[in-house]
């Protein structure tokens, strides 16, 4: 076994595991920050996100329904 290769391999291992774990530690921190920020936002704008998004398509659907009725009425007269 070549000592130089061993050194190379160990360097790769230390750097590699170091970067992976450092990355994930920072990610854990970032997730903590994220959860707090989003939790805070969810408090300030509680359902604001969900409701308009849902109501939008549903209102569009309603509108489409009305249109469909209108078209059907028109077609019936044809």
């Amino acid at each position: 076994m070549n000592l130089e290769l061993l050194e190379q391999g160990l360097i790769a291992m230390f750097i590699g595991m170091g970067v992976v774990l450092a990355f994930l530690v920072i990610l854990i921190g970032a997730m903590g920050v994220m959860s707090n920020v989003v939790g805070y936002l969810n408090k300030i704008f509680p359902e604001v996100v969900a409701v308009p998004t849902k109501s939008k398509p549903s209102s569009a659907a309603k509108q489409d329904e009305q249109i469909a009725i209108a078209i059907a009425a028109v077609m019936a007269r044809v």
Partner: protein, 391 residues
């Protein structure tokens, strides 16, 4: 043209006449001479064996069946299907050499992955990091003991990441000559996770540890799930741009899934697109199963290193789980550390199953999904390190 010449032409284009290569006087080793002469028919049998593993033993059949079939086609004499003008050679060049196919599959993986369990219990991400020790342990052995070059050792190590597209992406960049063997090893061992992991998990844990019940996970809001892929990608931008193609594809798929406004695209990534690419990825990976590249001692070494990589990864995950359990306020069952190797969702199921064996009320699946998906990110990051260091 007369009938005799035509028959000779036809005979010369048959497989029988071309199966066995003539003796090459420049090859001195009799074993290499044998492989030179009989390589193609042996590879056909090897590919039939891989097909059998895929179909009968259901070893990751979605990949192994196309890979094995592609390998079979590539070893047909005369036809040269894997050559630069052959069907599979062209697809390989366009899709794998340039790195597109693994990235597209990673998009689909992102669109199918729920990072909720990880967001609910962030610290389990460390288990997905620890399990990447399998990558670097195997790299070290490949480099120092088995005599591979550094790029080759990096490509072999990535088998321990237990992530098909990541392995193929990294290998196609670092050591394309090993692609066939590494892909076969990666997918075979991913299929063997339920066989490889339990003994190691049981060896390294006490019964007391295995029965630990974990606290239920908190609910994760939709907004957190939308922001999460952007956080991962941003960290990746800051610390490791080399991992960005892989992590970028993964997070793009996941963002499309979670943001809820592009369901058409997310559905397509999870179905038509990933299926189409899987077919061509498999077939063209198989095009690297040529006799002179596969029937070597290197392949044997890769198979040995691959299983060592999986074992190291499992062991590192479990041991790190034991350590975390010591220092954590809330209990952590070290079995979920084994799920850190990724192989989503197989490894998490294995952790759940082993846990149930010892405590029939202990459903670890959701807890194991945290390290499991963190393992995907972890091996993406490790891939970035390898691409930056070994190239």
């Amino acid at each position: 043209m007369n009938i005799q010449d035509s028959l000779i032409t036809l005979w010369n284009s048959t497989g029988i006449a071309n199966f066995i290569q003539p003796v090459d006087p420049s090859i001195t080793s009799p074993f290499e001479q044998f492989l030179h002469q009989f390589g193609s028919p042996i590879m056909l049998l090897v590919c039939l064996f891989l097909l059998w593993l895929g179909i009968k033993k259901q070893f990751e059949p979605l990949l192994l069946v196309p890979i094995a079939f592609g390998g079979f086609l590539s070893n047909i004499p005369v036809a040269d299907i894997a050559g630069p003008n052959g069907f599979l050679g062209i697809i390989y060049e366009a899709g794998i050499h340039k790195g597109l196919f693994p990235l597209i599959i990673f998009m689909g993986v992102g669109a199918m992955t729920d990072f909720g369990p990880l967001i609910a219990n962030p610290k389990t991400a460390l288990l997905g990091g620890a399990a990447q020790f399998g990558i670097f342990g195997a790299l070290l052995l490949a480099l120092c003991v088995f005599g591979f070059t550094l790029p080759q050792a990096g490509a072999i190590g990535i088998i321990g990441g237990a992530d098909g597209p990541t392995s193929i992406y990294v290998t196609s960049k670092l050591a394309p000559e090993l692609l066939g063997a590494i892909a076969v090893a990666a997918y075979s061992y991913m299929a063997l996770v339920p066989v490889i992991q339990p003994p190691i998990m049981k060896l390294l844990t006490t019964k007391k540890e295995r029965v630990i019940e974990m606290e239920q996970l908190r609910a994760v809001s939709k907004r957190e799930k939308i922001v999460f892929p952007l956080v991962v990608l941003t960290l990746c931008v800051i610390f490791l741009p080399d991992a960005c193609p892989l992590i970028g594809a993964l997070t793009f798929g996941n963002l499309c899934k979670e943001c809820g406004v592009v369901e058409r695209l997310s559905d397509t990534m999870q179905n038509a697109l990933i299926n189409i690419v899987t077919i061509f990825l498999g077939l063209s990976v198989g095009s690297k199963l040529s006799a002179d590249q596969f029937l070597t001692t290197q392949t044997l070494f890769i198979l040995i290193l691959g299983i060592l990589a999986f074992s190291f990864a499992t062991a590192a995950g479990v041991i790190f789980g034991k350590i975390m359990n010591k220092f954590s306020k809330t209990p952590i069952n070290p079995l979920i550390g084994a799920a850190g190797v990724s192989a989503v969702p197989m490894a998490a199921r294995v952790a759940n199953k082993v846990g149930l064996e010892y405590n029939p009320n202990n459903y670890l699946l959701m807890h194991a999904m945290g390290p499991n998906v963190a393992g995907v990110i972890g091996s993406g990051v490790a891939a970035g390190v390898l691409l930056a260091l070994c190239n």
